[in-house]
């Protein structure tokens, strides 16, 4: 384990000398000797001690290190990287709203910024120290002297290098000899063979090769394709003990996993399928329809695009690229009920207003014009593919029976989601009532105004302009 360089000189009989090394019992003798050597003008000197001896820097004339400056730079680098990284990753490249927190640098960026500052500084401290000390250095001529083993235990060594410009073998020996060392030896070059023993070399090679195997396997898997079936690690996740709807079974004679309803039973929620209050149409009148029940039912039960898009498409371009669905012309003509199944009193009107403003106004606007906040926002983004929410005041909606409006709320339409889970049937009917009131407010007569409020109107309303009418 030696350096490559001394090999040439190894051919000569005399090993090369690197300098003189004196050994001392304690740190005080070392310090005294070091001062003496320094005062004699030697600069290529060093001391080797088991612990940092105070005052040795001054005694040897060691200059302070640049380490703190390097670390300061590393710290600022860490801080900069952390802030930049967070700003770019969460503020630019991958914006993701988390409880309305702003993007970019916020108080939430500080912890990571702090940690990375410390991480960079600390690692730089360590590695810069190692590098400045020119470590690791496994072969060192000073190790050739067996006495030097005690330099890490309880002895103190002073070393004058032969490369010093004032170095003279004899005068240095004399100088060091005058400091009463325990021993004084010349540091000679390491003459032991410099190659690693073969078994160690083989073992190292083996470790490296085996270490590469997993990496190669992963690389191979990433790059290639495999036709072999996947290896199932999580068996109970991949093969769950359950039957899917269309699968066959051997349990029942007909082999179907989905069972028909047992005669004389009513499933949970099925009762509601019989009542116009829950449906918006009268199921008993279904037989009077010209088309078969099933077709009508399906079109009513599934949220279809309905007839909204025709009116909604904003630009002529959009009209061309996305032709209106054919369903639009064939709106389901179910036996919608025309009469509200709830009583139109002040209470339900208030409830309808409350629920309309909670759930509907975000898109349809408070007045039902189809200009809610969502619409305004989407419109301002001007992305071209936004279908505006339907206005309550277009003729198509105005002529709709109440049952159909109820059905729209229940099932949803187009982009509009179903509100059946959020609103009870009563609340939905109240909304229908409120929508009706909104619609009527655009088309009211003076007779609609209660007598006691007529006097409060400023002037005779012009027949053309819409006027607000108290819903009472």
């Amino acid at each position: 384990m030696s350096e490559q360089k001394p090999r040439k000189s190894a051919e000569k009989k005399m090993p090369k000398a690197f300098g003189w090394m004196a050994e001392y019992q304690d740190e005080h003798s070392l310090l005294a000797a070091a001062r003496k050597v320094r005062d004699s003008g030697y600069t290529k000197t060093d001391a080797f001690t088991p612990f940092p001896v105070h005052g040795i820097d001054e005694a040897l004339g060691i200059k302070p290190t640049v380490l703190p400056f390097i670390v300061l730079c590393a710290g600022f680098t860490g801080l900069g990287i952390a802030l930049l990284m967070q700003w770019w990753m969460n503020g630019v490249d991958y914006k993701y709203i988390i409880s309305g927190k702003p993007f970019g640098i916020t108080p939430a960026s500080i912890p990571v910024a702090f940690e990375l500052t410390v991480l960079f500084s600390a690692f730089t401290t360590f590695f810069a120290m190692i590098a400045l000390n020119k470590l690791p250095k496994f072969s060192n001529p000073i190790f050739t002297n067996p006495r030097f083993d005690r330099a890490t235990n309880d002895r103190f060594f002073l070393y004058v290098e032969a490369t010093d410009k004032y170095y003279n073998r004899d005068s240095v020996k004399e100088l060091l000899g005058g400091t009463h060392p325990d021993s004084l030896d010349e540091v000679l070059e390491d003459t032991t063979p410099s190659t690693l023993p073969r078994p160690i070399l083989l073992a190292l090679l083996l470790i490296v090769v085996t270490g590469l195997i997993p990496a190669m396997i992963i690389l191979n898997m990433r790059a290639g394709y495999s036709t072999a079936p996947r290896f199932h690690v999580f068996f109970d996740m991949d093969f769950q003990p359950k039957k899917k709807t269309q699968q066959p079974t051997t349990i029942f004679a007909d082999g179907r996993i989905m069972r028909p309803q047992v005669k004389g039973t009513i499933a949970r929620g099925q009762l509601e399928e019989q009542d116009a209050f829950y449906l918006g149409y009268d199921p008993s009148k279904m037989t009077m329809l010209e088309k078969s029940n099933s077709v009508m039912l399906v079109s009513a039960q599934t949220p279809s695009d309905g007839n909204a898009p025709v009116a909604a498409t904003k630009t002529p371009d959009a009209n061309q690229t996305t032709p209106a669905p054919t369903v639009a012309t064939e709106a389901p003509k179910l036996p919608w009920i025309d009469k509200l199944p709830i009583e139109a009193n002040e209470e339900s009107m208030k409830l309808g207003k409350l629920k309309f403003e909670t759930y509907c106004s975000a898109c349809h606007g408070y007045a039902g014009n189809g200009d809610g906040l969502v619409h305004k926002r989407a419109d301002s983004l001007a992305q071209g593919y936004w279908l505006p929410p339907t206005s309550m005041h277009i003729d198509r909606v105005r002529i709709q029976p109440v049952g159909q409006i109820f059905n729209t709320i229940t099932k949803g339409q187009g982009k509009m989601a179903s509100y059946a889970t959020s609103l009870s049937p009563k609340e939905r009917w109240s909304i229908v009532l409120y929508v009706r009131a909104l619609q009527r407010s655009r088309d009211a007569n003076i007779e609609d105004v209660p007598a006691e409020f007529i006097s409060t109107l400023d002037e005779e309303p012009k027949s053309a302009s819409p006027k607000t009418v108290s819903t009472k």
Partner: protein, 414 residues
């Protein structure tokens, strides 16, 4: 170790003693002018005239500002004995003098109590009569905890503890000046632990009572630690300034070495960081959870013309002192460290203003100018009190058995 010293070199300079009455009256005048400035505030709505609000808030902020130095001193003394520290022996007496100023400063708190009993709710909204209290949360607190009587009792309890602990430790220290008895150090070492626990409790609750209850709606469990961190930071800055001025006047020159300044500089730096840590912790938790009853405190501070002031806290109180005090070079250079300490004293005042003044109203020029004058006035009064307390007291505990240790240590690497 033999310590030859000249008695005169550890006494307060004669010229300072002569200036004390002038300083005191100048301080009072500045305080009054400052208060007068509050009356130039533009009138706004509300029960209390804005002038009264500005005036009382400003007085409290400036009072807590100077008082926190003495609290820091008390804690410092207790900790030095608790940890059996040797390095600080030669600067300890200055801190002890600061500590014994608590009874003098307590008098300055009397106006606040008088104001409470006079029935004013200009400073503490909870002192309003029940029918004026539209806020049910505050009303609930004002049933027994935030009442003028209980508040006064608590305040007296805090002061009693601080005064008793401080004067007892000071008395033992003075006795040691005469006898040099090591037993006197042992007693203090023994009692420092329990006293520090009571101290922690008292400063926490004093912070809740005096400062946090200005906005009686708001609460933050860390608030006591916040005041503590600022106080310690201010205390070390004050220590550096006082020791430096004493040395410039030719006193305690050999006893307080560059190593002590270096160490105090490190503590100053450390507490700048600690304050930032505490302030950040409070901010980030409230900012993140975003609960209305908590964010309101910050909303008041980050709205209108307070916004710029509050953001100013980051550079004034953290970035500038942090970067400035980071270097070992600066901590060991007297003029640079002194300027750093003076900056931190300003930063601490800035922080106290941030804590209190936004609750008085918007940041108007005249009340703020008056508040600044009042701060300087308080500092003058504080200085006069210090000179008064320090008269006839040696500035170094010369017979403390640990003094040789303080004289002979050297800072290692950092």
């Amino acid at each position: 170790m033999n310590l030859n010293y000249d008695k005169a070199s550890i006494e307060i300079p004669q010229s300072w003693r002569a200036k004390a009455p002038i300083l005191f009256s100048a301080g009072l005048i500045l305080l009054v002018i400052g208060m007068a400035c509050s009356f130039l505030a533009p009138a706004t709505g509300g029960d209390n005239t804005p002038a009264l609000r500005y005036l009382t808030h400003s007085y409290l902020a400036n009072f807590v500002y100077v008082f926190s130095f003495t609290l820091g001193a008390l804690f410092f003394i207790l900790v030095q004995f608790l940890t059996r520290a040797g390095w600080s022996t030669s600067i300890r007496r200055i801190a002890e003098i600061l500590m014994t100023m608590i009874p003098y400063l307590a008098i300055l708190f009397v106006p606040v109590l008088v104001m409470l009993f006079w029935g004013s709710s200009a400073l503490y909204g909870w002192n309003a009569s029940a029918k004026d209290m539209e806020n049910s949360v505050v009303a609930a607190k004002a049933t027994f905890f935030l009442t003028k009587e209980f508040f006064t009792i608590r305040t007296i309890a805090y002061f009693t503890f601080w005064i008793l602990a401080g004067s007892w430790f000071f008395r033992l220290s003075r006795q040691q000046d005469e006898s040099g008895d090591t037993e006197l150090s042992m007693i203090r070492q023994k009692w420092a632990g329990p006293l520090i626990m009571i101290f922690a409790l008292s400063i926490s609750f004093a912070a809740f009572d005096w400062l946090m209850s200005i906005d009686a709606d708001w609460y933050s469990t860390i608030f006591g630690v916040y005041l503590f961190s600022g106080s310690m930071m201010g205390f070390f800055a004050m220590m550096i300034v006082i020791s430096m001025l004493l040395q410039n006047a030719g006193k305690v020159q050999k006893l307080i070495t560059v190593e002590h300044f270096h160490d105090m500089g490190k503590f100053l730096f450390g507490f700048v960081m600690f304050w930032s840590y505490i302030a950040f912790s409070q901010l980030v938790l409230i900012w993140y959870a975003n609960i209305p009853e908590e964010t309101n405190w910050y909303r008041v501070r980050l709205e209108g013309n307070w916004e710029l002031f509050s953001y100013g806290l980051i550079p004034v109180h953290f970035v500038i002192p942090f970067l400035f005090l980071m270097s070992r070079h600066i901590r060991r250079s007297r003029p640079l460290l002194l300027s750093g300490a003076i900056w931190v004293l300003f930063a601490h005042w800035y922080d106290m203003t941030f804590l209190v003044m936004p609750n008085a109203g918007s940041a108007e020029f005249f009340p703020m100018f008056g508040h600044f004058l009042g701060g300087i006035g308080m500092l003058c009064i504080f200085a006069a009190m210090f000179v008064q307390r320090a008269s006839g007291v040696p500035l170094v505990a010369m017979r403390d058995p640990r003094l040789p240790e303080a004289m002979s240590y050297a800072n290692p690497i950092l």
